[in-house]
Amino acid sequence: MIAAFLHHIMVLPVILPLITGALLLFIREHSRRLKSALALVSTGFVALIAAILIYRAQNLAPQADVYNLGNWPAPFAIVFVLDRLSAVFLLMAALIAFCALIYVTAHWDRLGAHFYSLSQFFLVGINGVFLTGDIFNLFVFFEVMLAASYALLMHGSGLARVRAGAHYVVINLVASSCFLLGAACIYGGSGTLNMADLASRLALLPEDTVLICQIGMGFLGIAFLIKVGMWPLGFWVPATYSAAAAPVGALLSITGKVGFYVILRLSLLLLENDATGLHAAICQILFYGGLITLIVGFTGILASQNLSRLAANSVLASTGIVLAAMGLDHPALTAITVYYILSSTFALAAFFLLIEPVERNQDIAADVLAVTMEVYGEDEEEEEDEIGFYIPATVAILGACFTLCAILLIGMPPLSGFIAKFMMITGLFWPQGPARAYILPNMQSWLFIIFLALAGFAQLIAMTRSGIRLFWTSLETYVPKVQISEIIPIAALLAFCFTISLAAEPVMRYLDSMAAEIYVPANYIHSVLGGAVEKGE
């Protein structure tokens, strides 16, 4: 009974926000309390379910939990597949969405219509991507997520947002066309769109058909890399993220992670046993593309003249780190990469939420002036004799949150950002674990380590500079009014980072076994197709 129940709650992360989002459309716009309460309850439930699903995935491992929609057998109909990888991402997305929704209740929901419905549909798309086991269904959920994100991005309207939104939509429509072309090639080549079925068939296909499938995978790869924002496909990232409203920025920071999830899932499932050299080539592209993204990101961080740009470029930098780490293609590193994704996503979401309260009452011209003054060395303003300097509580709290975000993003001890980067570097020296002999990393690993350190340093400079500018200025004109519902979600997101720092050992044990599991595609294939594989062969 309970087992059946646990099996069925797997579809709820998709169904529940879908129903809630649809219901919210019928409630009048000015009963905001009710709307926000419903949306929060639904998202909270999704988070709770995701936590249960993590336990379930852990218990079932190395088998994945498979849900046949409509109870049709696996290769013919769409399946939902839950394993440890999807469960982790589900929980992460739900937690961030929950925090963003609390934040919205402060006053953001008044900026435009239907925010709560859109956020629910956004969640439907994201959760669907994490759960689905079918490539075309993946496309549909991607589109659901993107359609909601188009509207969310323009929440609050204004020329800057609409302009960034128009560019974002064009780029994503082109990416969707690539996705469709890829899916079509894969279907044309292999005759299936079920990921597990495809993975099991790839080895049996004749060579020219495999080539068609591989072209398809190339198209899919372009689509996902556009969404992730890898150089040279990621020029839209800074403009889009910095134009979005604060809670939307936090939500959008999940979309990139959806791309990481799909790349991890598909590249390991379809190409792990690949003999044609495609996997190696993809790893090279990911690695060097990631490195260049990282360089572009930290150059952008140094050049940023306001905090939203800084945050947007930090997204690029962390994208670069993740892609390069994926390109190194190592099970131990994969687990750490997912840990880094968790840490950086929470930190970036907190940072996006923090920017607006911090910059409230500040005029942007002063920011630009400050940076320009630093460049030209004209920083001697009139000396103020500061007798008795008092910091209001609001500023102190904001400053503390800012410092914590900075520590997390730079990767300074003791928080999770440091733990992740430290593990990445030790993982390269001791790939078998610290007890075994260490190896001298190859050239690629050295490049990665050097740029990882450089990126942290650039972040340190930029964050310190803006921190000084924002919190050590004279306070007469600048005491922002911040509501408690804006502080709570930021604190909660930082608390998640604390949690994964303190519980780094159990989290890593989970992620390590997850990485070991996804590096063996047979687990996934057997879970989905059951005995069908043996019968077919």
């Binding site: 496309f139 609409v162 128009a166 939509v169 064009v170 469709l180 079509a184 279907y187």
Partner: protein, 113 residues
Amino acid sequence: MEIILSSGIGIFAASGLWLMLRPRTFQVIMGLSLLSYAVNLFIFVTGRLKLDAAPILDTSKAIDPATYADPVPQSLVLTAIVIGFATTALFLVILLALRGLSGSDHVNGREPY
């Protein structure tokens, strides 16, 4: 038939790409539409070209799969058309908003110098 269809897809895609790289919003949206036609035709063709073949099984006769058209790409293309249509409509609204806010139909919201 193969030549006609594939060159048709190619012409659609090429004109779509060219229009998409143009600076005016109307050209961009026409380009996106043409590109999505190309993609939709491409999906349709992945089921192989067949004349006079139904995609739905006729159970009154003995079933020979070779005489039927592949129904999967047909349903896929239907989904893709619906989604593409919806997102294009959404994009049209965004472009109208951009035109209204900026007073220019350039994709960057301002006339080039």
